[in-house]
């Protein structure tokens, strides 16, 4: 018998320190040891209880060993039991006592009382002391042959224990084949069941090294063994029945008549009051008929009623476990359950975990004939006092709408939700209407009329706000106030805490701008400025991207941000069918309750940070905080990388949210942004190749009234300049007017440089040696003004520089404009390094 774990806490002051009490106990035990007085066993029990309770709280009572053993020379089973617990505890830690213990237990293994023989054998095998395995073989051998079934039961499990202490000892003693014989012949079914458990473990462990064991393991699911067990199934205890049934699921029958035989034999198990037996039987039925479509469906029909009965009897916990299995089946074959929808109606007093499952089932079984009633019922829950359930119910209505063809009535219902004027109802309904419009754009007219009446001030939840904003952008031509609502939202940019909402706001303002430019112009400018200054990386990136694409070409921008969209036909499912199949394979286990295949909650790498963490003290604080830090640092990184990281992020987010249809939309615009990104970038960096439209970008420039921000572009080392670049002054002038300032900086000029700059010409020659050419210069000491240009070595991409040098303050103020803005920082670095070398021989 395994010892209880030592209590972790140290004995508190109120508990006895032990010493005097222990010696006191010792004395009393000694007095009782030899006594034959009537009632002595009762006194012993009291003392033993004390000893055990001291032991449990961590007081060392090992010194009483001898007295305890002496006192337990009795036929009182309770005393024996307590004594075994005691000796088991100390044998492990105290080798001297271990041998004594073994002697004591071995003697009891030959007691005339079978209960004592069994208990002693059980304790003996539970010692888990590797050095003493040879003492186990004898008692186990005779235990397996004992005339009493309790002793045999204990001996069988004892063999398994021995196997785990020393596999070779167990196998050498030929115990596995004795167990096999017992399994097929013993009259006691618990002995049979124990043999089966033990053999399954032993042969599975041996199978990797021994071919014979592997054959034996296979033999367990052979026809003779399976039929033998099935024929005796009613004699087994409920637990053992489950064990046998689980084994039967692994059996592969040779033909369909065998399948029917097994099912007919097990038919009455479906009427068992024990849910575990029923579920195990159902698993057998389902697995046997997997390849027989019609019969498989009949099985579903057959198991409905028993499952429903189990759900409605028993405790809520049991009921939930069964309901989870029903849920799994309903999700696999909703059409079979479509007439049973009323069973999935929620009762007001059910726990919300039950209601949640039922709502999912109701959603799944909705079809043409029952939708009206189901939706009517769900609408009742929308006013439920249990707000999370009310929300789920509204979502369920939406899901049904998305999976039905005739959504007429449902749309009306959803719109009624919007009129209920309960914050959470409005919020959920908005998200739904948004999804609905993505699938059924033809409903926009009705929906927009209602959505237009909702004051954005009453919508606070980010998801709902994002949905509303999406609709404002998408349908801005139909909603009179769209630009103004968006404008007021933009004005409160700083108060908007959700990055998701700000992202949507940017996109919506863009869309609105394309449709109603004069009314949106102001809002767009403000939004882009706020977006570019936003601390959130994604928001910043999206704003900057919009800004640049607008600058590049408005019509391209429109194609990117607001392309014609295809209606969504099916929203992606949360779980892959592969995962669902795995859960189905693990029917009648926790996998079904968790709705995850077992590897997801048993394998280490799939555990969440809080799951079964070994280092409890070391729990990380959620991922979010860390993410923020990272994204803040990323600001410093290269622009290209930023875009990439963002698109990757979007992808990951997209996939993780994929399943729930209720995340805010990553609409066509944002996805295509990243799809087109590379294309556009190359187009921008290559003006000769791209269809450049300077008017447009100039117009935008003025329209936005923004100075171009200093875009951070770290030097790219491979920037090489064309040594023989040429540019005629008129082109230069034209470009200078057309391009925005990419960089505006102030450098220090070295004292040598100041000294050398007596006349402009001196600097011109110096810069030319660095492939930076002058196109115009002027001024007199101390103030000089230069216009330089340079070209990339491999392509006709120009850099234009205005450079004002004051020798009195030893400063150079430069403005850089570039065709390829992403490299302007690199160029600036080159320029600076060239300038710094001026005057140094």
């Amino acid at each position: 018998m395994a010892p209880p774990a030592q209590s972790q806490r140290s004995p508190s002051p109120s508990q006895p320190s032990g010493k005097s009490e222990v010696s006191d106990l010792k004395l009393q035990l000694r007095q009782l040891a030899g006594s034959r007085a009537p009632g002595v066993d009762d006194s012993k029990r009291e003392l033993f209880k004390k000893v055990i309770s001291y032991m449990t709280v961590g007081i060392d009572v090992s010194s009483l060993f001898g007295e305890m053993v002496m006192c337990s020379a009795t036929s009182d089973i309770v005393l024996k039991k307590m004594c075994y617990l005691y000796v088991g505890n100390y044998a492990k830690v105290n080798p001297d006592l271990a041998l004594l213990t073994i002697n004591f237990l071995q003697r009891d293994c030959n007691d005339e009382d079978p209960m004592i023989r069994g208990l002693a054998l059980r304790s003996l095998c539970s010692l888990r002391v590797a050095n003493f395995v040879e003492y186990l073989v004898g008692p186990l051998g005779s235990g397996l042959k004992d005339s009493n079934s309790y002793v045999r039961m204990v001996a069988v499990i004892g063999v398994l224990k021995l196997y785990h202490i020393s596999a070779s000892t167990c196998v050498d003693a030929d115990f596995p084949s004795i167990l096999k014989h017992l399994m097929l012949n013993d009259s006691d079914t618990q002995v049979v069941a124990n043999c089966l458990s033990a053999l399954q473990e032993i042969w599975s462990a041996e199978a990797s090294t021994s071919e014979e064991a592997s054959r034996e393991r296979e033999a367990l699911i052979s026809k003779p063994v399976i039929y033998y067990l099935l024929n005796r199934i009613r004699e087994f205890s409920e637990w053992a029945q489950c064990l046998v049934l689980e084994l039967v699921t692994k059996y592969v029958p040779s033909d369909s008549s065998e399948i029917f035989d097994i099912m007919n034999l097990l038919e009455d198990r479906l009427q068992h009051a024990n849910g575990a037996v029923v579920l195990a039987t159902i698993k057998v039925f389902l697995h046997l008929t997997l390849s027989m479509t019609d019969v498989h469906q009949q099985v579903y029909e057959r198991i409905k009623a028993p499952l429903l009965t189990l759900v409605s009897s028993g405790s809520p916990e049991q009921s939930y476990a069964v309901l989870s299995h029903l849920h799994l089946l309903v999700m696999r074959a909703p059409y079979i359950f479509s007439s049973d929808y009323k069973h999935f109606y929620c009762q007001y007093n059910e726990p919300s975990y039950v209601k949640r499952l039922k709502l999912e089932m109701l959603t799944a079984v909705a079809n043409e004939s029952n939708t009206y009633e189901i939706v009517t019922e769900l609408c009742e829950y929308a006013a439920n006092v249990d707000i999370p359930i009310a929300r789920e119910s509204i979502r369920a209505v939406g899901k049904i709408a998305l999976q039905q063809y005739d959504v007429n009535a449902i749309v009306d219902r959803l719109l009624q939700f919007l009129e209920m004027e309960k914050d959470y109802v409005t919020a959920e309904a908005l998200v739904l209407v948004k999804d609905l419009l993505r699938k059924y754009p033809q409903w926009s007219h009705d929906c927009i009329a209602v959505v237009g009446n909702i004051s954005s001030k009453n919508v606070q939840e980010p998801k709902a706000k994002a949905a509303l904003i999406w609709m404002l952008g998408e349908y801005s031509q139909d909603m009179q106030d769209a630009p103004y609502i968006l404008e007021s939202l933009v004005e409160n940019w700083d108060e908007e805490h959700s990055a998701e909402v700000r992202l949507h706001l940017l996109t919506a303002v863009m869309k609105c701008f394309f449709k109603r430019p004069p009314e949106t112009q102001n809002a767009l400018g403000t939004a882009l400025a706020a977006g570019i200054a936003d601390f959130h990386q994604d928001v910043h990136d999206r704003a900057l991207f919009y800004y640049r694409i607008l600058q590049y070409n408005v019509s391209v921008a429109e194609r990117v941000v607001n392309p014609p969209k295809q209606a969504v036909s099916v929203f992606a499912d949360t779980q892959s069918s592969e995962i669902k199949d795995r859960i189905f394979d693990e029917f009648n286990s926790l996998s079904v309750v968790y709705q995850k295949p077992s590897y997801m909650f048993t394998d280490k790498e799939h555990r969440g940070p809080f799951e079964f963490s070994d280092e409890l003290g070391n729990l990380s604080i959620g991922g979010e905080a860390a993410d923020n830090v990272v994204s803040a640092q990323r600001v410093e990184e290269n622009d290209k990388d930023l875009l990439l990281t963002t698109s990757e992020k979007e992808e990951t987010r997209g996939s993780s949210n994929n399943g729930s249809a209720y995340t805010a939309p990553y609409d066509g615009s944002s996805t295509s942004v990243f799809a087109l990104q590379t294309h556009i970038e190359s187009a921008i960096s290559n003006p000769t190749a791209a269809d450049h439209s300077p008017q447009a970008s100039l117009a935008i420039d003025d329209l936005l009234g923004l100075g171009l921000p200093a875009a951070p572009a770290p030097p790219s080392p491979q920037l090489k300049l064309n040594t023989t670049a040429a540019l005629d002054p008129s082109t230069f002038q034209h470009k200078w007017r057309q391009l925005p300032v990419a960089l505006s900086q102030e450098y220090s000029v070295s004292p040598q440089g100041v000294a050398a700059l007596t006349a402009p010409q001196a600097l011109l020659r110096h810069m030319q040696s660095h492939s930076i050419h002058c196109i115009a210069s002027g001024g007199q000491s101390p103030n000089f003004k230069f216009f330089f240009f340079a070209q990339k070595a491999e392509e006709a991409s120009n850099y234009l520089v205005e450079c004002i040098i004051s020798t009195s303050s030893a400063k150079a103020q430069i403005k850089i404009k570039a065709d390829d803005q992403s490299t302007s920082q690199a160029f600036s670095t080159l320029f600076q390094s060239a300038l710094s070398k001026f005057g140094i021989p």
Binding site: A2, P4, A5, S7, Q8, R9, R45, I52, V78, K81, M82, L85, R122, S126, M153, V154, I157, L160, K161, Q190, A193, N194, S197, S237, E238, W239, D268, Q271, H272, A273, V278, A305, P306, L308, T309, L310, S312, S313, G314, S315, Q318, S319, S339, D340, K342, Y345, Q347, Y348, N349, E350, E377, E380, A383, V385, E419, E421, K422, F612, D614, L616
Partner: protein, 383 residues
């Protein structure tokens, strides 16, 4: 197979800890404790030998009891969540209704000698949902035949049910009310039986044969969606009554025979959450009734000690609001739910026709108790 078994104290200390296989990481119990909290319980007891090396050996509660030597410590009933149907007679310190259907059936004769007796309880929990117009939307009976045997020598028992009892509603929707109304037959949707029950002659004469294990166990669980007459009709009216005021009128009518008395009735109704005050008006001469407005969750509660069959009771409540209600007031309140117990009454008409105990001798005539009770599971009227 079970690796570890532990019972923790409220502080997370091990009260009972068994490591059957030594294959689970240390600290599992602690991790578990972080997630769940157990109620406090004192005393220690060696875990009964249900398991050996993590494999279940026996689960019969009577066998297990023989391994347990400590006096049981009754856990404060209030700490426990209400359990399923089987638990309704075992609500610990809570007093059970009038007939005290098996509160504690430790039937010890004054002399300490155990009395030969057997209890068979037909417990039905009913769920009904009425639409706002009083139409029955759904109804279901979840029934259990619970047996508690104190017979020495475990004699065989035969339990005869209604002869016209049929099981399974074959084809079509189980909610097809028309097909069953009027007929006298009792039609169960489905049922299941305890391990010990033999159904050899069940198909022929609806008799269950069993050798009952000691103690309490469900002989049979059944489920029924056949139409039945709901024991109570609920009528609820809520009307605006001027500025920031509304009036609720709740009427409950008992539709069972007048020799039957329901007890521990509680009617509850959520009110609009801007309700600040409620004043109640009971019918004149009302006894054994109480009213309450649960401020925290804005619920109206009306308790009645008993309702005699055929009678009708009304409650009026005047509500005061803190704000104007702009939406439909009925959308902000309700539904009305009801809990009750009706002893010696069962809605399904399922009956134990006789209870036969195999005789050991001519003088052997143990006490037999067959009792019926109906309880509300989810009894709801929408408004």
């Amino acid at each position: 197979m079970i690796s570890q078994f532990f019972v923790l104290s409220q502080r997370g200390d091990n009260i009972v800890f068994r490591d059957y296989r030594g294959d689970v990481a240390k600290g599992t119990a602690e991790i578990f404790f972080r997630k769940v909290k157990f109620w406090k319980e004192d005393g220690q007891e060696e875990a009964p030998p249900v398991f050996d090396f993590g494999y279940v050996q026996t689960t019969s509660t009577e066998v297990l009891k023989s391994y347990i030597f400590n006096e049981p410590i009754v856990v404060d009933a209030a700490r426990l969540q209400p359990l399923g149907p089987a638990a309704i007679f075992m609500q610990g310190t809570k007093r059970m209704p009038g007939t005290a259907v098996t509160k504690s059936v430790l039937a010890n004769e004054p002399g300490g000698r155990k009395r030969e007796e057997i209890f068979v309880d037909i417990i039905e929990k009913i769920s009904v949902t009425f639409s706002s117009s009083g139409y029955i939307l759904t109804s279901e009976i979840d029934g259990t035949i619970q047996m508690k045997s104190y017979l020495t020598g475990n004699p065989e028992i035969r339990l005869a049910l209604n002869e016209d009892l049929s099981i399974g509603r074959g084809g079509g929707s189980v909610y097809d009310y028309r097909s069953s109304s009027g007929a006298g037959a009792v039609i169960l949707d489905d049922c299941n039986f305890h391990e010990s029950v033999r159904l050899d002659s069940f198909d022929m004469d609806r008799t269950l044969a069993l050798i009952p294990p000691d103690g309490e166990f469900p002989v049979m669980n059944y489920r029924m969606t056949q139409e039945f007459k709901p024991p109570f009709r609920i009528n609820c009216l809520i009307e605006e009554a001027g500025h920031l005021k509304a009036e609720v009128s709740l009427k409950v009518r008992a539709e069972f025979p007048s020799d039957i008395v329901a007890n521990t009735i509680v009617v509850q109704m959520p009110l609009p959450n801007y309700t600040t005050r409620v004043s109640f008006e009971l019918e004149p001469g009302a006894v054994g009734q109480r009213t309450d407005f649960k401020e925290a969750n804005k619920k109206l509660e009306w308790g009645l000690k008993k309702i005699v069959g055929g009678s009708e009771h009304t409650l009026r409540a005047k509500l005061t609001f803190s704000q104007e209600s702009h939406a439909n007031i009925t959308k902000e309140a309700g539904p009305v739910s009801m809990t009750f117990t009706i002893p010696m009454y069962n809605v399904s008409r399922l009956q134990v026709k006789y209870l036969q105990i195999a005789k050991k001798s001519s003088s052997y005539n143990p006490f037999r108790w067959v009792r019926y009770v109906t309880q509300a599971n989810s009894y709801v009227a929408r408004i």
